[in-house]
């Protein structure tokens, strides 16, 4: 029964999708440019910080079951809450636009003959469609596509490393001191903090207390994956090459020839990455729509932009029609076999 209720595991899985989707492609380059071959250590440190942030998100939103801007009780939200919700929506929209731009730029390099608008529109529309299916379907989609993404990432990593990695590129540790690592930590934290967007689902999680563990673990796993990719990129390509490259992970994938049939696998990596991007775009749009509509008295937060758009105009407008209630009362059970009830035959 589609009620917009999601499970803690789905939130955790989507947290990994949100954190790693953009990070895996972009992060190693600027990170290595700042921290050198110790960038993977910076990822670990930044991940620790992100884990603490994720727990903070849980404590601030999931534990009290309240999305950003939502009032504590049944009353109207305060103006502070409304402004907070608007800020949250602005953050989600900004991240969404950024993501669309990233995809468009990436695919322009892969398919230069195609207009950039096609990729931008394709990404935005797909994200919108996913969010239009509703929060529950969106989180389920993330969970459904997650194995594909993990499989592609891990397989790519494994085949990239086989015979290509030079561990000397990663040594010695802390060659330039901890300062360079600390300079790179904010960048890692920026990716890790994107888990904040999931706060829009607060109040709609079946057992929110379980997220106290699940959310930090998800961020930890994301950090480990990012650290592994950063280390792999440096180990295979060398820190200078990684620092210069825009998409070091794609360059890493180009090193791979997995079989006679597939000459290069970077497009498959991109394919898996793309599906995660769509889900993330959907999450961002959904979060923005819910933050705009919920605390602004349009209607109780519902199942994403499609319902949000349907809720327009606000109920104070004269021609606003109330939606029909989706819930229904049940008449179960009928007469007990022990009681002399009427026959269970019905006709219409």
């Amino acid at each position: 029964m589609n009620r917009g209720i999601v499970e803690p595991v789905q939130v955790a899985v989507n947290a990994i999708v949100v954190v790693t989707t953009a990070a895996l492609l972009y992060e190693p380059g600027p990170l290595v440019a700042r921290a050198g071959h110790d960038a993977w250590l910076a990822v670990l440190v930044g991940t620790a910080l992100s884990v603490a942030f994720a727990w903070g998100v849980w404590a601030a939103y999931f534990r009290p079951e309240r999305a950003p801007g939502e009032p504590a009780g049944a009353g109207r939200p305060s103006w502070t809450g409304r402004l907070l919700a608007l800020a949250f929506a602005a953050y989600a929209i900004y991240m969404g636009v950024l993501l669309v731009a990233q995809v468009a730029m990436t695919f322009t390099t892969v398919l230069p003959e195609m207009p950039i608008a096609a990729f931008a529109a394709g990404t935005a529309l797909t994200g919108w469609m996913l969010s239009a299916y509703g929060r529950e379907a969106l989180y389920r989609t993330g969970q459904l596509l997650f194995p594909l993404m993990v499989l592609a990432s891990v397989a790519n990593l494994a085949v990239s490393l086989a015979g290509n990695v030079d561990s000397r590129e990663l040594l010695p540790l802390l060659e330039a001191g901890p300062e360079r690592i600390l300079r790179a930590v904010p960048l890692v934290f920026a990716f890790g903090s994107e888990v904040l967007v999931l706060a829009a689902a607060a109040g709609a999680v079946r057992a929110p207390w379980r997220l106290a563990l699940f959310l930090p673990v998800a961020v930890t796993l994301s950090g480990l994956l990012m650290a592994a990719y950063t280390a792999a990129a440096v180990g295979v390509l060398g820190s200078h090459e990684v620092a210069r490259s825009t998409f070091p992970v794609l360059a890493l994938a180009r090193q791979v020839r997995v079989s006679l049939f597939l000459l290069r696998v970077e497009i498959l990596t991109l394919f898996a990455w793309l599906t995660g991007t769509f889900v993330k775009e959907g999450l961002l749009l959904s979060a923005a729509a819910e933050s705009i509509t919920g605390p602004w008295d349009w209607e109780p937060a519902g199942n994403g932009p499609s319902r949000a758009w349907r809720r327009w105009p606000p109920p104070c407008w004269p021609w606003r029609v109330s939606p029909t209630p989706s819930s229904c009362s049940t008449t179960w059970p009928g007469p007990s076999p022990l009681s002399p009830g009427r026959p269970r035959r019905f006709s219409w």
């Binding site: 589609n2 009032p71 389920r140 049940t330």
Partner: protein
């Protein structure tokens, strides 16, 4: 606001849990009632028996007054016993009862030793036994004043249903299929689930056709919310004439515009019985052999009945193969076109040269080539399906060999494309039923267009939207993709993506069908005899 929303959600959850608890209590009460001794008063005994079987409309009770003024009731389940047989073996001898049988004890003595001499008779003391025997095709005779019932075994005279269903052919397993007669179909299911908790609710649908139907479920196993939901949906049918369950499915589906079947359809009583035992609900309609099972999942569409009659490794491998064939049939051609058009770097040079050489004489783009061949195949299949078997086979051969070969020789299609279209089409047909293949064929066209227009980006867009759509579907309120999402790993391995040996199956708890399997730790019973692991 959200606070009141939460309160509303909480109150609804409490209501649902209360409904489920009530259903559990009902099942418990039914079990208790089944263990009760048969009361001597005939009216009480008949009422208790009818109540135990949920006042099913196919439970027939015939009251007789014997010559000695003693009242007798004969109880049978309609469809399980031949009408003529019950008349000759039971009713006619009762009508010849002597005047001397004027006390209950005398009637009982007469019935046991003289009156029903030719029949296989035995006394039964409690209702559970009576319910079981009724489901096995026996007749029950209750005598006013006697705290026992006489069970007359008539099951040996029953025979199997007429024919094997054409749409679900199996190499191993029962050969029975449903007919167009509702009472026969209900009886076939009752024979397989001889339990007093099986409920059969009859309904009428269609403003002009007044078609009779039946809603079957097992009390205490089926989720009462699902049953209630189906009742309400069936009550909302406003069609004038309802001739098939396919019409009902449109009303049962929450998303009637979706190309995917959200309910499994079957012609087999064994499939229905298994579904009922797992907590699903079955809807039958008079005039059609197709029953609808709710809730169903995406994985049910990939299951064949014989998966349960073959050994588990083979069944599991077949299921994985079917899933792979679905994925290939939907996306295989689109991926090929995308790679050939946009991502040449993926293909090794030798293979690329072969593809380019074979495509060189083809005068139109890859998309057109793929569309023409795909449409040609669908045309041949449609024509073959509507023709007599002999001609249909010949048509397929002509289409596949002659036309395909002529197209390659004439430079109208490339050989790799023909191979791919053929494999993709065969992959579609690997699914158990034809109706399931239709949405996948349709979606393959969508992905083909996206793949040829935007390359792998387009395929990714299409695949994600399809995944999102599947994730948004629900069948009778249960997630369509369960137990993949919501994730129930054990249930996924047990009987969804694969099938574990029977001994490793857990006993399904109440309302915990495959959609919601969780927290079940009990091991299942020993496998049924004659069924492999």
């Amino acid at each position: 606001m959200e606070g009141s929303n939460r309160l509303h959600r909480l109150s609804r959850e409490i209501g649902e849990r209360a409904a489920r608890l009530s259903a559990l209590l009902d099942a418990w009460a039914a079990d208790r009632a089944a263990e009760r001794a048969i009361p001597p008063q005939l009216a009480h005994a008949v009422h208790a028996l009818r109540a135990l079987l949920g006042f099913a409309s196919d439970l027939q009770v015939r009251h007789l007054r014997l010559a000695g003024e003693i009242q007798v009731a004969v109880v049978v389940i309609d469809g399980l016993v031949d009408d003529q047989l019950i008349h000759h073996v039971v009713l006619a001898p009762l009508a010849r009862a002597p005047q001397s049988a004027c006390t209950p004890e005398a009637v009982q003595r007469w019935l046991l030793h003289r009156g029903l001499e030719g029949a296989q008779l035995r006394p039964a003391g409690n209702f559970r036994e009576l319910a079981r025997e009724l489901h096995r095709g026996s007749a029950v005779v209750l005598v006013d004043g006697v705290p026992l019932a006489l069970v007359i075994d008539l099951s040996g005279f029953e025979h199997r249903l007429p024919e094997e269903p054409a749409s679900e052919v199996v190499t191993r397993g029962p050969r029975e299929g449903f007919t167009e007669v509702l009472r026969t179909n209900v009886a076939a299911v009752r024979r397989r689930l001889a339990d007093h908790r099986l409920r059969v609710e009859s309904f009428t649908v269609g403003r002009l056709s007044h078609s009779r139907g039946a809603l079957l479920y097992v009390l205490g196993q089926a989720d009462p919310l699902v049953v209630e939901r189906l009742r309400r949906r069936l009550a909302a049918v406003t069609l004038d004439a309802v001739v098939d369950t396919a019409q009902l499915v449109s009303y049962l589906s929450g998303r009637p515009w979706s190309p995917f079947l959200q309910y499994r359809s079957t012609e087999r009583p064994d499939v229905c019985a298994a579904a009922l035992a797992q907590g699903q609900v079955v809807v039958m309609l008079d005039g059609t052999p197709f029953a609808v099972i709710a809730p169903s999942t995406f994985w049910d569409l990939l299951h064949s009945p014989e998966d349960y009659y073959l050994r588990w490794p083979f069944s599991s491998a077949m299921r994985v193969l079917r899933l792979a064939s679905v994925l290939f049939s939907v996306g295989g051609l689109a991926l090929y076109v995308a790679v050939v058009n946009y991502h040449h770097e993926l293909v090794p040079t030798n293979l690329l040269v072969t593809i380019v050489n074979s495509r060189a004489p083809v005068p139109y783009p890859t998309l057109m080539e793929a569309l023409i061949l795909n449409l040609g195949f669908d045309l041949l299949r449609e024509a073959g399906a509507r023709m007599p078997q002999g001609i249909g086979g010949a048509l397929t051969v002509v289409g596949a060999l002659v036309v395909g070969d002529a197209m390659v020789r004439g430079g109208l299609a490339s050989a790799p494309m023909i191979v791919l279209v053929a494999v993709s089409a065969v992959a579609t047909l690997a699914l158990p039923t034809f109706a399931v293949t239709v949405p996948f064929r349709l979606l393959s066209y969508l992905l083909l267009v996206l793949g040829s227009t935007f390359g792998l980006f387009g395929v990714a867009v299409g695949a994600t939207v399809i995944a999102g759509h599947l994730a948004s579907l629900e069948s009778a309120g249960k997630p369509f993709l369960a137990p993949m999402t919501p994730w129930r790993g054990r249930a996924l391995l047990e009987d969804a993506l694969s099938r574990l040996p029977w001994t490793k199956h857990r006993v399904p708890g109440p309302f915990l069908s495959r959609q919601d399997a969780r927290g079940q730790g009990e091991r299942g019973p020993t496998p049924p005899r004659g069924v492999e692991g």
